[in-house]
Subunit: 312 residues, 2 copies
């Protein structure tokens, strides 16, 4: 196998693109794809910081690495979630710190234990009969809140996450199997800033897991080994495997599926409106919420909404 | 396991409906589902004949049986395709004739060999390097043409086919993976009569393969064993298997997927228009076509379009 561009020995074969690259030309290909995705969807601004949510996994490290090389003022945000099982959070923090040090990237650390005396695992275990599903939803809410808070505080153009094509296509499949118009309107590479939320961008939305793994291998990017012990629900993993099965038989299906959707996403926009009322500022933190006090402040800060004047 | 309605020993368990029925109450359930589908989509008219395309497979026999019991003036149409391999067409004809005789159903026979001296297999083998895929597309075109011709000649309200929920959901999955707006506009239980085409209806569109098999078992409906030797493409079968895998883990997914789509199908309607120009009558048979002479007449009747007055 030889590089399609220069004929040098191949570093990677990309079935979805029906092509083969040497290390150098794969690197150029990868950066070009990221740059094009950013430009096509108007994701970033050259002179405003972009806060990248860095978990220590391959996707978030790769997107940080690539954005930095493309010259964006990248600031990494690592949230220490306090997942003690398997030493997951400690390992994630170590990897992230080392990566940022080696690559000269500003790192903001947000430790739930330091801020609130305990992490998601301890909070969840204390809350109710323990279920790993509810820790995932607590964790997701917590991360979204902190990303918003930090991005707004830093005056960032956007929060970037490492979501890749496999993630997007899998979420899309799940949403389309339920024809959930609300989510079908927003399985997008960019979610505009609105109601005081920071803009959310996914610069790797058109790059596959396989391509990201190759990029990490090429640049010696070490990532956290293993998955979160409370990792995502089985349905999501099953849908991902199904798409991989289709992809194997028909390379390029995942990308065509997601690209095709992008041409239709606006059809679902009307269905998104009116799902919940316009948010108002949380009485405690000021970030947008649909209730008087946001879930984050209720759970982490123990803030209670004021008693309603009348009831019943 | 007991019947949910009467407590008698169960005949069938339907995971998608989270229920169990005895033979009698399953039968009532099945007929009710067919009747509701017909009414919901305005498929048929009580006093006009409905031509049912009967291949001899479980779906077409079940739909004929159910429509007849519901009191519709059913006329079966069997097309003898002339597939000699494995004696497939001969077996299909025999099953169909026996079924119609036993159930007192009018049967129209259309034999390609009698009409044109050869069937699809012979025509295809004589045409070009033989490929089983092209016989499928020839066969599909041929059947659609004859169904139209016979339905129009009989003044039928519609042509009914045995397509079931699994067929519809699988076709929908294939169409949505490509976001093919043209087909996404018409993966429907009813296609209205237009441009001189007969209306096409699928009264079993919301009943699963499993339910149809149980109905055949209940009524002792014998069907053709085995599949057509040139059966459908591997991709379709793979998608069907994937949906079954999802269904097994989350019973009801197939139906929710298809029902959800029905709420959105109209969004794709605009994309359907303008795909091809308005059809005109075929110069030979008079049925609608996009060219001067329809494909059916060109292939089966050897009719050639008139030479163009100028070329090149």
């Amino acid at each position: 196998m030889k590089c399609r561009i220069c004929g040098a020995p191949a570093f990677v074969k990309l079935a979805a693109h029906n092509t083969t690259f040497c290390a150098e030309h794969f690197d150029a290909f990868f950066l070009r794809q990221v740059r094009r995705t950013i430009e096509r969807f108007g994701m970033l601004e050259p002179d405003r910081p972009v806060v990248v949510a860095v978990s220590g996994g391959k996707d978030s490290l790769a997107v940080t690495h690539a954005l930095s090389r493309l010259g964006y003022p990248v600031e990494a945000l690592h949230i220490d979630l306090g997942i003690a099982t398997g030493g997951f959070s400690a390992a994630s923090l170590e990897i992230t710190e080392k990566f940022c040090r080696q690559n000269g990237i500003v790192l903001h650390l947000y430790s739930l234990e330091e801020e609130f005396g305990r992490g998601v695992e301890a909070l969840e275990r204390g809350r109710r009969p323990f279920r790993s599903r509810s820790i995932c939803s607590l964790c997701g809410m917590t991360k979204r809140h902190i990303m918003n808070e930090v991005a707004l505080a830093r005056g960032a153009a956007a929060v970037a996450t490492g979501h890749n094509l496999d993630d997007m296509a899998t979420a899309l499949l799940a949403n389309v199997l339920r024809w959930d118009g609300f989510y079908l309107a927003k399985t997008l590479p960019v979610l505009a800033s609105e109601h005081g939320f920071a803009r959310k961008v996914k610069p790797l939305a058109l790059l596959s897991e396989e391509e990201i793994l190759a990029y990490c291998r090429l640049h010696g990017i070490a990532r956290v080994e293993g998955r979160c012990p409370f990792a995502r629900d089985a349905k999501f993993l099953r849908y991902k495997a199904l798409l991989n099965d289709i992809e194997q038989h028909s390379p390029g299906t995942k990308r065509a599926f997601y690209e095709g959707y992008l041409g239709y996403a606006s059809l679902f926009r009307d269905h998104r409106q009116g799902r919940s009322g316009a948010p108002r500022p949380c009485g405690v933190c000021g970030l947008p919420t649909s209730s008087e006090v946001c879930t984050f402040c209720r759970l982490w800060r123990g803030a209670a909404p004021a008693a309603k004047p009348e009831e019943g």
